[in-house]
Amino acid sequence: MSNRRCTILVCQGTGCISGGAEQIFSSLEEEMARLNLEESVQIKRTGCHGFCQRGPLVIIEPESIFYSKVKLDDVPDIAQSFLPGGKPLEHLFYHDPVTGEPIPHYGDIPFYNKQERIVLRNCGHIDPEDIGDFLALGGYEALRKALFDKTPEQVIEEVKRSGLRGLGGAGFPTGRKWEACRMAPGEEKYVICNGDEGDPGAFQDRSTMEGDPHSVLEGMIIAGYAIGAKKGFIYVRAEYPLAVKRLKIAIAQAREEGFLGKDILGSGFDFDIEIFQGAGAFVCGESTALVLSIQGKRGMPKPLPRPRTAEMGLWDKPTLLNNVKTFANIPLIINRGWEWFASRGTEKSKGTAIFSLTGKVANCGLIEVPMGVTLREIIYDIGGGIPGEKAFKAVQTGGPSGGCLPASFLDMPVDFDSLVTAGSMMGSGGMVVMDEDTCMVDVARYFLDFTRRESCGQCIPCRLGTEQMFEVLDDITKGRGRPEDIDLLLELSDAIAHGSLCALGKTAPNPVLTTIRYFRDEYEAHIDEKRCPAGVCRELTKEKS
């Protein structure tokens, strides 16, 4: 047993760490050393493997054995199982919640086998702090290919043809943005990766940066080459210290290996990346606000009409701003070709979508699915349905800019345009499932509380309008609703959507509009009968019990 037989992957995503994964890792190392198994078994830290709810996760390759909810006490047994004659530990397997059957391999678990993990392929499989792991899986090959086999125009053409649309929310065609930025006059240009991830209830950008930072860097460097920039920034919010740490390590390693810095791989192309830590303001995810914030100012969106960031961004220079996942898709497109990418997904939404599936759903975690799968497939097949035999009520996508969709949309394909038609949006990928115990008026109130706190205060419709909407909703949940309130909310929504200066205000009414559209009866119960059907609003449920 001189050569290595297996690898133990210990997830070190933020979720698993909160369950003690760091201690599990170090104790496993000690235990393996004690049993003299270091020679035959390799232990590795990885980024998020996605199934956060079952964490801490330990995976054994090449057999693909999946242990979940691992405890420190399990470590000696895990180590022993690698001794001659040892067997995998059945009590750590995932057990089918319906049949109770143990499922040893992660590929057989419904949470994983209905997914298509393409962008997330490395997350949970490589050590994000070791560039060697990334290189072993073909990392930075796409950069080499772009630099030596393609002109910048050809790279842009490839991205355009792939049909990739930005994954930061609005779904703007990425290739067109790159082209606009390349064409914009000016010697100095910038690339910015938007890792602000302001949407509450979303962690897919965090997991990508933590689990596979080099894919993001590689996408950014290729973008820099394509548009003619020498400098890039990653804007990460301060609440993500682990992402910052891993990105810093990745940048240092990439520099050392010649993928960043002067004369990259001897191609003559210079490009470097700096991390900027956002200081906590949701509105800083908006392009013009984000740029001001890097410049050391208050992050307040610029009023319309204004030049596009692609033409006049950071320090008034042409600036390419894309989301973390958008960049992470780029190496794949360059490596496998636009035809491969364009063959996946739907007519107008290509590729895959990554969601943070959370809320009242059995399997919470990070998932990647082809565009066009239905909400039902996501919530029931991958998510395992609603726990506790409760009824499904709604699914919220798009965060504070999105909306809540009722059961009648469960068979709707998930893509950029269908979601917008239904009154919601893709957003940056939060998907929060709600069951019969969720009060939709309370949810609307919750989102307006968020937007009124986060409004930058520059324009009156957003600053005062969201405040007033919040107060009306607050009154309704406290039993002080008046019959005319629903119309008042609709009127305010209209005024805010039309009058606000930036998309924060323009989309702020969406959660209210969709809940009124699909759950009007709940509003009416609160207003007319002073009753909260879900039993959430405290003032309306006290006398009932």
Binding site: T14, G15, R206, P241, S356, Y446
Partner: protein
């Protein structure tokens, strides 16, 4: 002492306009808050009016003028946490440590704030105690983490 620390922090920056937010972050990381004298010094260092330093510091939620408690509690009020009972957890914490969101105990033992999302949504509801994240919080877990003081619980409801 503090003077020296501040000088050291400032000396690692060039004093460009764009250094403002990183400097504020570094000062806060070292002093636990943004002391008034420090903001004055930063303004001079960069060569901008003091009001501009205040204006930026007050815009971003990360920055604070008052010190934190030794045990700083951050409760998530993100969507996933909200749906799974975050308001209830927050009330429990307020009860256990006797202060409300945004406050610090007089002995500086605890401070409590809420944030938009901790980013561990799959384990909702979540809280953070200093750097550690605790997921799937329940009222019982709150009691374990914050044993009520001998003086008895203070009800802030």
């Amino acid at each position: 002492m503090k003077e020296e620390l501040l000088r050291r922090i400032l000396s690692s920056y060039k004093g460009r306009k764009r250094d403002l937010i990183p400097i504020l972050q570094a000062v806060q990381a070292n002093f636990g808050r943004l002391p008034e004298e420090a903001m004055l010094r930063i303004a001079r260092f960069i060569g901008i009016p003091e009001s501009e330093v205040y204006s930026v510091a007050s815009f971003y939620t990360q920055f604070r003028l008052t010190p934190l408690g030794r045990k700083h509690v951050t409760a998530c009020r993100g969507t996933a946490c909200h749906i799974r009972g975050a308001p209830h957890i927050l009330r429990e914490i307020e009860k256990a440590i006797g202060i409300k969101e945004g406050e610090v105990t007089s002995d500086l033992e605890y401070s409590l704030e809420t944030v938009a999302c901790i980013g561990c949504c799959a384990l909702a509801p979540c809280i953070r105690l200093n750097r550690d994240v605790y997921g799937e919080m329940t009222p019982e877990k709150v009691k374990e983490l914050f044993p009520a003081s001998d003086e008895g619980e203070q009800d802030v409801q």
